[in-house]
């Protein structure tokens, strides 16, 4: 196998590592932030990271199905954002609160 320069030859690994980095950022956001809407945004970030790896695999394995998966993930992400925000807004209307800690007190 010929020696390749990691800086100038972009392969699958580059995209996968980038995807992993973005995914971990999203996860850190979910763990560290308190604002409900920022949590939802971090989840979107994680889904985007997954999409990158899907498309990268699709390209490097010559298989179009990865892109179909991205299509489906995008749809589900949008649906999730819609429902999540609808919930967040109705809770905000009721209690004027978006702190995730507050939700521990919700019962019944």
């Amino acid at each position: 196998m010929p020696e390749t320069n990691i800086l100038t030859t972009i392969g699958l690994e580059h995209y996968l590592v980038l995807s992993a980095v973005l995914f971990s950022m999203g996860m850190a956001g979910v763990l560290l932030r308190r604002n409900l809407i920022v949590l939802l945004m971090s989840i979107e970030l994680m889904l985007n990271a997954v999409n990158i790896s899907f498309v990268a695999f699709s390209k490097f394995n010559n298989n179009i199905e990865g892109q179909i998966m991205v299509f489906f993930v995008m749809t589900i992400a949008a649906a999730e954002a819609a429902v999540g925000l609808a919930l967040a807004v109705s809770i905000f209307k009721r209690f004027k609160e978006v702190n995730i800690r507050f939700f521990e007190h919700l019962k019944g």
């Binding site: 992993a20 932030r33 308190r34 970030l45 498309v55 010559n62 489906f72 949008a78």
Partner: protein, 178 residues
Amino acid sequence: MTDAILFWFLALVTVCAGLSVILMSNPIYSALSLAMTMVGVSALFVTLGAYFIAGVQLIVYAGAVMVLFVMVLMLFDLKHEIQAFTRGKITGAIKIASVGILAGLVVGAITLGTKAIEAAKATEAVAGKTYDNNTMSLAQNLFLQNVFGFEALGVLLLVIAVGTVALSRSRGGTHARD
């Protein structure tokens, strides 16, 4: 060479924008940087040759989902944020450590996995599927092989549309009460 420059540039943009999503204490800045991340990811899709998906990423994520986030944040004026980050030094350290471990695990798994893929490719020599007429082959795959998933997503979207309307109606009317 130009591909490499583009990749590193876009990776830098996405990672910086992604970092500012989780580090900015004002949620509106977070949302705007997330939109920037989406645009960067779309450009990354272009470098991978997925043109249609890149366009869809722009339309759906950057043009619709993030607009909704920004609108909600501005509508309810969530600027008076209590405290951006969760408290507690020990729990914080544990969280950061777990994220670090996860990142390490993922990177390790990738390096191992791609070696396996390279080996498999060398032996198998992937059969010549054409990849050039991208949108067309995407359409064929979507409408001939994954048609059930496609219809199911249609139903899912319908259910969500009904559900959000019901949710936003819950507890008295469609107007915010002060």
